[in-house]
């Protein structure tokens, strides 16, 4: 969360930085600011969204930095917005992450420096100011400053009279973009992807000084080289293509995302998968537990993966909320595989859990959407979900791609471990192949779902129930609705209803039941009867409306073991249309940011 953009080059700096902030708005949008530099620093900041920010005028500006913020320390006010400056107003800094020792640093500096904001960040420009007083270069000043900082940071620093932008990172992501006669800085590639797709990912501990035509990277005082990579994402894929919201665009992209997730990974004639997993087969055979660590939607994908892996790969699977995870001593690290699921590859809680597992000696595997992200370097091995860029804060296509990739991983592990019957392998792979077409069918029936959503817009609360694979889908579908409509929505294991939550059910609380394959629909039907007799309206999501006997259904095509995923797509559309009917800012739900890079 929080977005950084930096630009140094011949074009109109203010415009490019402002556009970069617009691109990054999905990472945070409670305040924003821009600093342009030539002989002086020109600042503009605002509380609220990037649209409310006017880029400062500075015709001679040769470099600029910008920031869009998702508050952690200090309220979202103009004063707390980045860039922050020193006492002289000649050093400007934008920062993602958290400086853990900022109070101590602030106390140390406060005799001679005046602090204006409540942020942790402001200590950085003031500390740099003290170093510059020694007459050293901006690079050295930043280097010395980073030695004092504890915690996580990605920073971009400019100073009046100093050529170039100096950037540094520890844990928080930062990358550089190489244009023909300009250089870009971004917290992710979205910031500048319309200008260049040639990028260099900085690693933890790197400091770099950038000028229009040169990038000099240092680590531990040594000049080093980092690889330049070419990203396949183009600016267009990150645009809205005529859709009102990114979320709706991404919902409609799911057939394509799923095709990409499975493309080239299934050997049709051998009924096997090729996932390019580098973890040795002997090790995979010896594993007796898989621990999945993830947050939010990825956690739900993890729960789904557990239901696939346990029976087919014959391995115990535990799924952990990354923020609650610790590798405990009662597990044998040599026989435990820790799988991190994170869309962005930068989720701080998940990275921290993964590091804990690595320290304990367990091997780690990342399931992510983002090439070059931190998790791909931290984990021993990575499998990409290949969903393409996801900008909507509410994850949609990445959930289905995560589950599809988990199904491929299941077949791979099941075959390596010789625990998967050929019948089950055929069934899973056929279901995967059917998935894009089945999802397309749900999208073709959007009008029906929209009408249902309009009917229930004024409901007091929404409850989602499911069993087996239907349970994570119930959780995920409820999360979608609460994220974007702000309605109270909860997912429950259907059988748990009578043990408490049933007390919440009234005629004003619609209950959505996942009645698909792999979801013990014949049992959930009894729970549907329980809520119906309390007068709650019920919507059943099913491929078999004849035998399910529910008054109102979303009919989905039958799709074998992955049918609950298809149900999820129908419920994404339901959540979207409830929220849209209420006029919610669907791509920028209040208080939420796309990838949460603080713990």
């Amino acid at each position: 969360m929080c977005g950084i953009i930096g630009y140094i080059g011949p074009e109109e700096t203010g415009r490019i930085v402002h556009q970069g902030l617009k691109n990054l708005e999905y990472r945070g949008y409670d305040s924003a600011g821009i600093a342009l530099v030539d002989d002086t620093i020109t600042l503009a900041k605002t509380e609220g969204q990037v649209d409310e920010l006017t880029a400062p005028r500075a015709d001679g500006a040769t470099a600029g930095i910008g920031h869009t913020r998702w508050s952690t320390h200090g309220e979202p006010t103009e004063t707390n917005a980045h860039p922050h400056t020193d006492c002289t107003g000649e050093v400007a800094v934008v920062h993602n992450g958290i400086i853990e020792n900022y109070e101590a640093l602030k106390a140390e500096l406060s005799d001679t420096h005046v602090f204006e904001s409540e942020t942790d960040t402001e200590v950085i420009p003031h500390f740099i100011e003290t170093q510059l007083e020694d007459g050293v270069s901006l690079l050295s000043a930043v280097q010395r400053t980073t030695h004092q900082l504890e915690g996580s940071y990605a920073i971009a620093v400019t100073a009046a009279g100093h050529e170039g932008i100096v950037v540094a990172r520890r844990d928080s992501p930062l990358l550089l973009g190489h244009g023909d006669d300009a250089t870009y800085v971004g917290s992710d590639a979205t910031a500048f992807i319309e200008h260049t797709n040639r990028v260099t990912y900085l690693e933890s501990g790197d400091i770099a000084r950038i000028t229009p035509d040169e990038v000099a990277i240092y680590n531990d005082g040594e000049r080093i080289e980092r690889e330049t990579e070419t990203l396949e994402w183009d600016a267009e894929a990150a645009g809205k293509s005529g859709y009102e919201h990114y979320m709706l665009k991404e919902i409609h992209e799911q057939p394509r995302a799923l095709r990409q997730a499975i493309s080239g990974r299934i050997d049709e004639f051998a009924t096997s998968v090729d996932l390019d997993v580098a973890l040795p087969e002997e090790y995979l055979r010896s594993v007796d537990e898989i621990q999945i660590v993830a947050c939010g939607t990825s956690y739900h994908a993890g729960l789904y993966a557990k239901g696939l892996l346990e029976p087919h790969a014959d391995v115990r699977v535990t799924v952990h909320l990354a923020s609650e995870y610790a590798f405990t001593e009662d597990r044998d690290p040599w026989r435990t595989l820790v799988v991190a699921i994170t869309q962005s590859g930068e989720t701080a809680d998940t990275l921290s859990a993964l590091r804990d597992a690595s320290r304990a000696g367990a091997r780690t595997l990342a399931l992510t959407n983002t090439l070059g992200s931190t998790v791909t370097r931290d984990a021993d091995d990575t499998v990409f979900i290949r969903a393409g860029p996801e900008i909507g804060v509410a994850a949609t296509k990445t959930f289905v791609s995560q589950v599809a990739t988990a199904a491929l991983l299941t077949v791979h592990l099941g075959q390596v471990r010789d625990t998967l019957t050929s019948e089950a392998a055929t069934e899973l792979l056929e279901s995967l192949r059917d998935l894009p077409g089945a999802v397309q069918q749900v999208l073709d029936r959007e009008a029906t779902i929209k009408r249902a959503a309009e009917t229930y817009t004024d409901s007091e609360a929404f409850f989602y129930i499911g069993r087996q694979a239907g349970y994570p889908v119930a959780l995920e579908s409820a999360l979608k609705l609460k994220e974007i409509s702000y309605d109270h929505a909860e997912g429950f294991a259907a059988g748990e209803l009578k043990h408490g939550p049933l007390a919440l059910v009234t005629p004003d609380t619609p209950v959505i039941a996942i009645l698909t394959e792999e979801a013990a629909a014949e049992k959930t039907i009894h729970n549907v009867k329980e809520v119906e007799s309390r007068g709650a309206p019920v919507i059943g999501v099913t491929s078999d409306p004849v035998t399910t006997d529910v008054a109102s259904t979303f009919e989905i095509p039958s799709c074998g073991p992955l049918e609950p995923v298809v149900a999820n797509v129908a419920l994404q559309l339901f959540a979207y249309h409830v929220a849209n009917e209420k006029g919610r800012p669907i791509d920028k739900p209040r208080n939420l940011a796309k990838s949460v890079t603080v713990e």
Binding site: S241, G242, Y243, K249, I262, G264, E268, R433, G437, Q441
Partner: protein, 388 residues
Amino acid sequence: MKAVVLAAGKGRRLWPLTENRPKPMLPVANRPILEHIFDALAQTAVSEVLCVVGANRERIQNHVGGTYRDLEISYVVQEPQLGTGHALLQAESLLGESFIALNGDRIIDAELIEAVIDRQRETTEPVMAITRVKEPSRYGVVALDGKTVIGLDEQPLPDRTKSNYINAGVYAFGPEIFAAIRRIDTHGEQALTDALASYIDDRRLEAVRYRGTWLDISKPWDLLTVNSTLLGTERAPKAPGRSTAIDESAVVADGTAIGDDTVIHPQAAVLGGVSLGDNVSVGAGTIVENAILLSDVTLKRGAVVTDCIVGANTTLGPNTTIEGGRADVILEETLHQDVTLGALLGDNVAGGGNVTITPGTIVGNDVTLGSGTYVSRQVDDDSHVQRG
């Protein structure tokens, strides 16, 4: 220069395929009609395209996005759809002094667009491209005086056609066209051709004669003929898509278009004139000839599929027979005699084994065909066909 592509039409004669997608998204040579049009535009002075879209516009927006080659693409929604003139009015505020307008369902060459642009530049009058066809009465027949259009009759009786020249559906206009459209109101609809027919009463409309590729797709069998015409040309994909798998024992004719992730199983024969979309599975021993299979189609073993269009995500069971050949077909209450159409099957049709489909059959979307059924004429959406 900007171009407006009219892509909001319903394409009712191509039911059931046009229920789930706009007509310009129907594939020929494995690429949507719209892509073929964009390819032509990309080779001209046009740099920006406004796509007027309507029902199922998601299909276009998803597929094309915001750019196509060097073209910048944006979208204008026409809702409700009240004719081609009305469609053009939706884009009015976004268009400059002169622009190109073209129908989203005709495949043409870049030269035609260039010629239209040039003529407008020379004459500063609105321009219509015209082309010669065998059956002009199916289209808007043009009467000419030198290089000027003096008459425009929409689908006249065959014995009343004034020439073999028809409106090719490619125009260059200036702002004058919007006033002409606004004067028209035919039962609440505004057709561009009606507007032009009255415009020429007192103003000049320049004609550009055109002899190059002009492929109109308005009926199911047009899809098959245009598909086989384009296969093997530069308009067709040069190589199979990514991650395809073709068994060594299968026979695949040269020029077959094969999409990503498509699998052809042992002993299958894919003969001439076939386009296989993405993620299609052609079962063992299957025979496919002169056919378009949209994405996610599964043909189980032993099926025979001839002269046929198969909608997306449709599965045909083992030994399904679509023998192909000529038949009489009724579309939108009009009888078309002796046309080549084995069958047109909608999306998500689920067929059992040993189904026989007679020539000229049209099957709707989401239909279930029980094992051993004999299917003919027309089957409505969502039907279940069982053996009697």
